[in-house]
Structures are given as structure tokens and as C-alpha cells.
Symmetry: C2
DNA sequence: CATTGTGAAGCGTTTCACAGCC
DNA sequence: GGCTGTGAAACGCTTCACAATG
């Protein structure tokens, strides 16, 4: 239970794939902790996360040896360690650029603040939107971006503008000193090295689903031609390795 | 320019990683087509997409041999082929479950319809929300889900409920006959085999950025200790292989 | 002769299988 | 005895490098 290694500075590098799963484990472990579960096995966590148990163990092993052989992992302690590793031991205020539909929804969506990412500001270039209030935050003009970022020491920016102005929004964020950007606009952003950019494109997600739907259609048509016998639909083609989970439904 | 292979049924399997990039190429190519560009090289497309040219060529090679050696790819024809491969040669109406903040934003966000995914319906369990209108679509009660899905022949559902009811929403969607689900709730959904589920978790994205921010902080602190000489910040640590792009900013 | 299409090498991730340990 | 931690094998994706070719 004692911390086994140098705290905070000098940290081993964690594979990106693992970094992307840690938040999911964290979510589940927090729920378990709330439900009064004190200890969990890699098998148990794997089941809840919809992944393989070996993967859970390998992922957790990058944090250090925090499990107990023959027993499992102490939930509270794992929560603490994952939070620390992800840098969630303090809040990260974010600034949203773009107060249109999406920007408003993001500001209004309470989930961010709860999860440690309070909306420190929202800006728009359109003066008509300035001074309206969304999600309890007053919209300010984009020219105030610098002031907001500096005064609140913000390092994460969210681009929620139309595609045509997204690059400009990103450039402004970078100039203001932001070093991580979450981009919701359907464009590929350029940013200097040292700035991390992640993209969430809702239409892309739907298009990936479309691909799978379409394949299913092709397949079914082929099966009909083969005139297979009745019964439960077989459905081959693994749904997808990473994001998709298949599992018996409750 | 002539189609070189059996159309529509019997299709080669495309790697998931490629499927995830095709929508990005499609987006770029559509813009190029609109701008009057007739032909593009793998190098050119790679630059615009922020990826390696060899990757572009390999990705496109899964669609067939649609390029011309020494010349490049015909933009219009590529657009056509990618759209076909992704199943975007017809619309896919979607149904949104949950008319809260996020559901409303998604329904109001015109981008879906434009990109071939019109909102065929939005439902909520809360009778207070029923009959309100969001994004031009009237909210209906969740008990009408079956009727909506069947009447509009919907195969893609979007879960935009609070986490506690997300699994129920998914179960209802599956029972109604939906076979692809895009999940915005921060929970791992279970679904029977044959149903594709993709998850978009905004907080997870921010937590991944948090990890990188935090690392940067550690590093900077370490550098300060080493008391390096002044000049342009070096910043090691590759930002991330998949989602993140680094590039000289305009 | 510029550019595609692709074997083959390289690399990161997943999974297996079992030694190590409580 | 049960479960973790981890080498090593397997796998899929990326990148290289170059032969094929319009």
C-alpha cells in the first residue's frame, strides 16, 4: 500500500493505448468505490470495462505494482494512482472557442466541471453572441481570449467553431499559450510541435458505423442468395477491435 | 476510370484503422473537388490529412487500384469510390435517445443531416420534454421508439442519455432493430454480437489531454532543474501517434 | 520520370502462458 | 490456491523502399 516509487517527477512513459483506457478504468473504479467495493481483480475490472484481463494487468502494471497476488487491487488506491498519473489531482479549467450550437451544449453540459474540467471561459467572434450566458458562463469576445487564458492559467482549449474558422481559433489558442486542443470541427488542424491536438468528429463516427452497416447489408444479401437455413442470425465480421464492445446484453 | 471490380456485393475487408481514416480523406477530397482540383497525389492528400503518403496509398489500395502511376488520383472518382465503400451513397437516418443538453445539441447541430445522417427522430422518457421541438424535430416519447425505427427504417441509434439510463436506452434501441449505436454516455455499453457500438466520451478525451499536459509539466520542471540554456523550447515526447497531428502552423 | 502499388521490415499493441508471490 | 506481473509469441498497423507503369 505504500508508494513504491519516486513521486510525480521522472515518470515512466505509458503507451498511448493504455493512456486512452485509464480514464475508462477510473470511471468504473470510482463507481465501484462509491458502491462500497473495496477490492477488485483484473478479471472483474476487465469484465466491467469490456476488455481482456491480461490487458488490464499490463495496463495497470505501467503505473507500478499496485496489486496483491492472490487477492486483487485495492479500489481506492487504484483510483488515487490513476488520477495522479492522468494529472487529475487538480482541476484543469478549459476555454471554449465558439458559442454556436455545439459550444453552447458543451458549456451547458455539466459533465465537464464534475469531471475536473470546469469551463473557465467561452468566447466567440460574433458580437451578437457576446454577453449572452450559456451554462452559467458569460460569452466573451474572442479578443479577450488572451486575458482569459492568462488570468485563469488555462492550458486546454476546445475548438467548437464552424470548420472555416477552426484553424484560426486554434492559432489564437496557441498564441494565447494553450498547449492542448480538443477539436470538434471537421477539419485537420495544424499546430506547432509541443501542442497536443485531439479530434472528435461526430460525422466521422457515424460514417464508420455506416461502413459497418453497409457491410452487414452486403453480407445479408449474400446470405440470402446462399439461401441458408433458418435460426439465429450468425453474423460474422468482428464488430471492431478497439472501440466496440460485444457482450451478452443484460 | 472504369470500375475494375465486382460492384457492391463481395467486398474485401478493410482494416479498421483505414476505415477510420477514409472519412477524413473524403472530407478533404470533397473540399478539393469543390475548389476545382481535378487530380491529387498521395503526397498532396497526405499533407492535407496530416499523415504519411505511404499510408494514404496503402489505404486507397484497399479500395482497388484507382490511381494512375506518374499522375495521381482523380479527385471526383476517389470521392465516388470512398462514398460507396463507406455506404454513403444513400442517407442513414438516425434516432437520438435523450433530449437533454447533449441530445438537443446533436439534433440542433445541422452537420449530421448535411453529411448524410438526418435526424429521423428524437425521444425521451421524460413526458415534460415530449412535444418540445429541437432542431426542427419534435421530441417524442421513448415508447414510440419502435414505431419510429420501423417506419423510417433506421439502423443507427445515438445514446445521449445520462449514464444511469444509457444501458436501458441501448437495450431499447437493439430491441427496436437498430444495429449500430453511437454512445455519448460515459459508460461501457453491452450489446449483443452483431450490433456495432462506438463510444464518444468527451471527458475521456480531456483526460487524455490532461495526461499529456501533466507530463509536459513534469518535464519542464525537470528541465528547470537541469537549468538548460535559453532559446526555442525543445519539447520532446511525441504528442501521440494516432489522433494528434503536429505540423508547422500557418 | 513522377507517382502508384506493394512486398517486407519495423514497431506498437494484444494476448498467451506461466513464474512469482501473498 | 488464486491472482498478479511479465517475458515472449502473435497480431495488426505503419513505414520503407523499390519494382511496375502510365
Amino acid at each position: 500500500m505504500a508508494p513504491h516509487r519516486t513521486p510525480h517527477v521522472t515518470r515512466r512513459r505509458i503507451p498511448e493505448a493504455t493512456v486512452a483506457r485509464l480514464p475508462v478504468y477510473l470511471q468504473i473504479l470510482s463507481e465501484q468505490a462509491e458502491a462500497g467495493v473495496a477490492s477488485i481483480s483484473s478479471e472483474g475490472l476487465a469484465e466491467l470495462a469490456g476488455v481482456n484481463a491480461a490487458k488490464v494487468r499490463k495496463d495497470l502494471s505501467y503505473l507500478g505494482s499496485y496489486g496483491t497476488r492472490g487477492v486483487g487491487y485495492e479500489v481506492d488506491y487504484l483510483v488515487y494512482q490513476i488520477r495522479r498519473e492522468l494529472g487529475l489531482d487538480h482541476d484543469w479549467p478549459v476555454v471554449i472557442v465558439g458559442a454556436g450550437n455545439l459550444g453552447q451544449a458543451l458549456a451547458g453540459y455539466g459533465g465537464f466541471g464534475e469531471r475536473g474540467f470546469p469551463v473557465g471561459g467561452i468566447v466567440d467572434i460574433d458580437v451578437a453572441k457576446v454577453d449572452t450566458v450559456v451554462g452559467g458562463v458569460r460569452v466573451r469576445h474572442i479578443d479577450e481570449l488572451d486575458a482569459i487564458v492568462r488570468s485563469k492559467d488555462i492550458s486546454i482549449g476546445i475548438v467548437a467553431t464552424p470548420p472555416s474558422t477552426a484553424q484560426d481559433a486554434a492559432d489564437r489558442l496557441v498564441r494565447s499559450g494553450v498547449s492542448s486542443i480538443l477539436n470538434f470541427a471537421p477539419v485537420v488542424l495544424s499546430a506547432p510541435a509541443g501542442v497536443t491536438v485531439r479530434k472528435v468528429d461526430l460525422a466521422v463516427e457515424l460514417q464508420i458505423l455506416s461502413y459497418h452497416e453497409q457491410r452487414r447489408g452486403d453480407q445479408r444479401r449474400t446470405e440470402q442468395l446462399r439461401a441458408a437455413s433458418g435460426g439465429v442470425t450468425p453474423i460474422a465480421g468482428n464488430p471492431s477491435p478497439a472501440e466496440s464492445r460485444r457482450d451478452a446484453t443484460a
